[in-house]
Subunit: 322 residues, 2 copies
């Protein structure tokens, strides 16, 4: 029987993060409100340290290491933002870090990870099993594995984003959260269930990789092959054991957004809200605009999960004619 | 003798703006701090309503209209952000608005101004005198002219940006402010003189149009022809009578930034801080990086004045190889 994280773990994570993570702003847009006939509250995790919510879970997990774990170091696998989050948290806490990253990860993310002082090991995400590879390295080197989402301390840390949003916005009727492996979604669902029991929480995943939705429908974790989508932070092949259990208990439903909808949202954020948001970070707002959810007259939280995107690629995406 | 605005006017403007203007976030960047060996506090007026600080001065000025002025309406001339600021403020307060805009203003700004319900009249900024044109229209139509910078209520409103920054960041040693006609700079200088008397305030104007610096050196307002610069919000030909008097009394010095330095700063904001900042809004940070000011070890306020830039143009600027 899995010991699922609770809201108390989220509250404890918030205390650990105090003074280390940014309390990111909650921004409004009268244009967005008018378009959706709702009140939208955008939680800007693109303005979080290292540019994504992932810092929350990583720092929380590493803060709980004992002396032996600190000496041995941390290892993880990640398509990007979790890599930087572990690397930065490890540097701040004086812990050695090894990051296993896909060969085709955005160059900006690889460089930022190395810039934080971590050792980077590259693998081919289409042919190699990153989880087995990393577990082997962890054992050989005596390092503690902190996976990108399926870990109670990571989930609890990510939940602090929704906790802050609910504290600042007051009650919400709906909360929309990007969904890859489910760390952010399950953590936010824990916070919402405790702080706003009537709030309906939705996960949003890329149309090309709707394993989460399939898993909810089937009642078990569905595995898919790596989806081809602009949302590189949500190219996961399956939910985790912890995240799936929390999601199926506390999440209303899972919806999807297409790449074209992500680009439209990215342009909206740049043009109207002056924010750089990475494709994965656009999932929640794209769904608010296009997934047909009943939002009219509602108070809606929208989590922008991150802003780490290669600048040349970003310019290309927002500069193209819509 | 001119009756210059005072800090009390800034404080009164802050009360009028409460609940109407956003209290914009003050963001930090450990990358910027490390690069400049200083503590930087970025006041994000690109996240202000309509995308620029100009909303503050416009709303403050229009809030003071009497019943006859409200009926008659407001008229102004502007290269962009002041136009939208007056148009939006007028709509919020139920006042008719006419905006005289240059033919070559960014299309996004013209459209946004019309979108707020204002009447737009276009003129050629290289051949026509916008001030004379607007004054004539004001008289013919019985409208009140609120110029973009040289007006005590506008200056006082703009000063609320520095007031909020100083309240949030605590004491500052240096404050860097973009400079066009001087409304923002003079208002911020009033706030700094009252709240942080030892803080040195610098104006930053485009290298191609350093009329402000020339004016300080000469001790009188120097007129130049419209400068060719990416910083379209600072293409002014001269300081105002009010702004010049405040600036020469309360501002330490005026420095400049080149277009290439503005583009570099724009890329930094997008890549590292996830913010869309227009070229004019990059002046202060560009000067922090390149003007040779003694910032090391100091607490430095940097005002990002706005984020209104055509998306295609923006993509071109940040996407080009540096």
């Amino acid at each position: 029987m899995l010991q699922l994280p609770t809201y108390e773990d989220v509250a404890a994570a918030a205390r650990r993060l105090q003074g280390h993570a940014h309390r990111t702003p909650v921004l409004r847009s009268s244009t967005a409100d008018a378009r959706l006939k709702a009140e939208l509250f955008f939680k800007c995790e693109n303005l979080q340290r290292m540019g994504a919510f992932k810092f929350r879970g990583a720092f929380n997990a590493l803060s709980k290491f004992d002396a032996a774990q600190r000496r041995g170091g941390v290892i993880t696998f990640s398509s990007g933002n979790h890599a930087q989050a572990i690397a930065l948290s490890a540097r701040l806490l004086g812990i050695p870090a090894v990051i296993v990253m896909p060969l085709d990860a955005p160059q900006a993310k690889v460089e930022a990870t190395r810039g934080y002082g971590a050792e980077v090991i590259l693998y081919d995400r289409y042919t190699q099993d990153r989880e087995a590879l990393t577990a082997g390295l962890a054992q050989d080197r005596g390092m503690t594995l902190i996976p990108p989402y399926d870990h109670p301390d990571v989930i609890a840390g990510q939940g602090t984003a929704a906790r802050e949003l609910l504290e600042e916005a007051g009650g919400l009727d709906v909360l929309l959260v990007p969904l890859g492996g489910g760390g952010l979604l399950s953590g936010c669902a824990l916070a919402a269930r405790a702080l706003a029991p009537d709030c309906k929480v939705y996960g949003v995943e890329p149309e090309a990789g709707d394993d989460g939705r399939q898993s909810l429908r089937k009642g078990e974790i569905v595995h898919i092959s790596t989806p081809q989508t602009l949302a590189d932070g949500a190219q996961t092949q399956h939910l985790g054991r912890y995240t799936f259990e929390v999601i199926r208990r506390d999440v209303e439903d899972i919806v999807t957004a297409s790449d074209a909808q992500l680009v439209e949202a990215m342009r909206f954020f740049a043009e109207r809200m002056k924010l750089v948001v990475e494709p994965t970070g656009c999932l929640a707002f794209a769904a608010a605009c296009h997934a047909g959810l009943p939002l009219q007259g509602k108070r809606v939280g929208v989590i922008l999960s991150g802003g780490n995107v290669d600048l040349a690629r970003y310019a290309q995406l927002i500069g193209a004619q819509p």
